[in-house]
Amino acid sequence: MKTLFALPDFNWGVLLPFLILAFTGIFGLLVLLVNPKANSKVIRTVTISGGLVALVSQFALFGGEYRSMGDMVMKTNPGMIGEVLILISLVVVVLISKPYLERTASDSPEFYPLLCWAALGGMIMCSSDNLLCIFVGLELLSISLYVLAGLNKRSKFSQEAALKYFLLGAFATGFFLYGIAFLYGASGNLSLDGFSTAPLHSGTDNRPLFYLSFALIMVGIGFKCGLVPFHQWIPDVYSGAPTNVVAFMATGAKVGPFIALYNIIMAVPTMSAIAVPICVALSILSMVVGNVMAFSQRDVKKILAYSSMVNAGYMLIYLAGLMKGHMAGAFPFGYFLLGYVFATLGVFVILAQISGRDASPITLQSLRGLSQRSPGLAALLVIFVLSQIGIGPVAGFVAKLIFVNGLIEANQSWMAIVLLANSAFAAFYYLKILKAAYSSEEEGAAIQFENGIESKIALAVCTVGVVGSVIFYSPIYHFITAR
Amino acid sequence: MDWLHNLSPAIQDVLSAIGRAILAIIPIFAPVPVIIWYERRLLSWMQDRIGPNRTGNITFSRTSKMVPSFLRGKKFKLFGLAQSIADGLKLFTKEDIMPDKTDRVLFILAPLIALFVALTLGCTIPFGGDIRFTPVADVNVGMLVILAISSLGAYSTVLAGYSSNNKYSLMGGLRASAQLISYELAMGIALAAMVMNSGSLRMTDIVKSQDAPLYGVVSFIPNWNVFTPMGFISAIVFGVCMIAETNRPPFDLPEAENELVAGYHTEYSTKRWGIFMMAEYMAMFTFSMIFATVFLGGYHFPIRWDVLAPYENMYLVGVVVMLTKGAVGLTVYIWVRATFPRLRYDQLMNLGWKFLLPLAVVNLMITATWIFAAKVYGPMAAWMVGLVCYGVLFIVWAAIRHQAKKTQPQFQSRSVNMVNSPRRVLDVVPNKEVTP
């Protein structure tokens, strides 16, 4: 048999999670096509099972490094942890979506395929160091999320959030692309390796081009990660978009850009003269501004938005340390993401359960009385918030410990001190959430929440993630890094 | 012509390009009066009436001294050919009216865009075998140029509708843009199948690829694309789409006179209206030419006689063959206009999105399979695979249609929900009496 095209080497096993996720979405649409009156139950089931199967096939890949499709797909360590996290948050978000969407009367079956494809975009971002692929994955993620942010078509909040998210996101894409253009111009290469060959090309001095391209790419990625000078969209979008979508936005959708950020930083050691100051400045700004802004907020989702900025700052400062000193990067970074994702997801699961019928922002006021109505839920909230703060036997604490340890080992103690100081400061506004939850409820404002089996499973997953990742720290470590 | 050869090569290129451009515009521009006359005569013949047959008939005076002696008393019949020229003169000498409160710049710009599109649409069509004169630009993306230019045509109608400051015009413009966008997709995909068939986007290559013996066996008939199964389906899709792209009946929704006065050109008069009209006829003619090029073998004779072969590459013979094929296309245009009633808006959209687009896509996929099979297993296998594919798809389609007919209620009346119309309750009354 003659071959018509010189196809690159396929490694179907590596591509399997992508394929499963893509076809899950398409299958959901087909269900809709065959029976337009179908309620979303079938599609939801399909999506959950698709996510779980993809998760299993992803777990099977752990322990090795794979490349497929030339250099387009690359599975290395923090990326694979990221993919798992994305899939878990996909499944959890789908679990909590049904009651929430029904309550806010915006139960559209298109939600599930779009969520699937958003997760697919994030996974593609995690597993490539070709900027073309990262760009395509980023856009797949973002465009799906633009639609999802406007999921509730009757809520002005939701539509406004969608518009803001969309305009600023597209704006950031422009910067990101311009950065890629200069990188291509300087190195003739769309791969991130282009950065690491920067000084080699010094026949004509291309270094300004490299610096510029790094700066522009950081602007683009910074927008998506929510680093501070580019953070304006985050609080508004978090506060306005439907809570279940925000739950994905804050967790699964953040993982992809963070891993891409990690890959970019890992690719630029030769440029650390300019990269380190930029990163340190951005991260300190993110932490300080995020903390200060969060302090005066009354909207819970906005507090979480600012806290996500602070977390981005932690990760970036670790990466800056990574550039300067020699220390293990992949596992600590992955573990921090794990702690962040599970804790945030848990808080959002609780918020989705108590958010009201009218899809308006959730204020601290509306949390009051949670402990009286449902002590269990309040206790779980404590666990998740503690993990965010970084106290106690929870993932957040261990992750921060590893970070601080790594920074000190790399002789970057001042970075560790900045990190610790900020997380101490952050504890205040997290405690405000807890205080609201444990204060007595106001007259006539009984908190409404429901507690279906799906939400229970989702909460269990998050709790296991937050607590279990501490208990089984060393098995996880060996599973991921060994083999 | 020595001075020409002494110029620098760049300027020579520019000059030859300008020469070719003029040569290419004339065959599109010149026939417009004839086309209009032809349409009116043919239409009246089909409707059993006479049509313009007088204008231009000259009977010279028997007695006047002004007339040369050999002409005195002679009659010349032009069969009404001068009618369209007279109309044109009238249009271009009337008082120019521009309504108040129009967007003046856009109002003037709109007909010019229409003219631009109509004139440049044909720039990659080879009118004859002689590559010195034609096509104007033998670029390697010829087919895409056609798609690109034809997609620009939407602006003229849209801008005309917008700038007129008239509700009817606006509706016409909106309809036009929606219609053009919808049909462009199917058109592009239909052409894509033919591009795959020929293996090139270059128009001259597409023409050349149709010069082989039919199916590789029948030596005296050329292998025109329309004779192959996928080409036949593409030709149907493209034919419908090209009528819709030129806003001709039965797809003349943007200018439906009983709904929208005259649609996007309600406020236009005199020369601007004349330009719109000319552009429409030129576009018709060019699309017929494109159809001839892609599906009917371009400038080649319909029969491959060895005696004829040397003449095919001559410029004039090629042009004559091509123009004849174009005239056939025009005839079909007019025939369709005389035959079919105008579609309703929802019918138009359903035809475009639910019939033509899936058909074109399926055809594209089967073409790909066909080519793959032909390359890997040889032509016989390709025929079998292709025909089986078509057969299976036809059965599937018939089954779906059967199922849909069973479940779909038949309506006595129905109302269509337009975009942004005031919310209405669907008053659908299932008709019990109508039983098949």
């Binding site: 633009y146 406004e160 518009l163 890629i180 200069f182 291509y184 769309l190 | -």
Partner: protein
């Protein structure tokens, strides 16, 4: 390279447009302008630096490839973006980006 100069100019113009205009549709058009500046940069880099002697086809093809992908992405983005703009216009009669302050940001 005058092409890059033009590309820079278009990019900056687009940024200015995004910053100073209020109509979301116009802002979106300015973003498209930025994307086209990117495309121009890619193509001129590919033509002037990598389509020439001493570079592999693999290097040279990156620019046009990226342009094709940017176009496809832009098409999808426009479809979704205009959908969002239509949806918000349904809820509110007039949209001024500066007055979108329900969310207090």
């Amino acid at each position: 390279m005058a092409y890059i100069g033009l590309s820079l100019f278009m990019f900056s113009t687009g940024v200015v447009g995004v910053v100073i205009r209020r109509n979301p549709i116009v802002i979106f058009m300015c973003i498209e302008l930025m994307l086209n500046a990117v495309n121009l940069a890619f193509l001129s880099f590919a033509r002037y630096r990598y389509a020439t002697e001493g570079h592999s086809l693999n290097q040279a093809i990156g620019g046009p490839m990226m342009v094709i992908f940017v176009m496809a992405v832009a098409a999808a983005e426009v479809a979704v973006g205009l959908g969002i703009i239509m949806a918000i216009y349904r809820l509110k009669e007039e949209v001024d980006v500066d007055e979108l302050n329900l969310l207090g940001g």
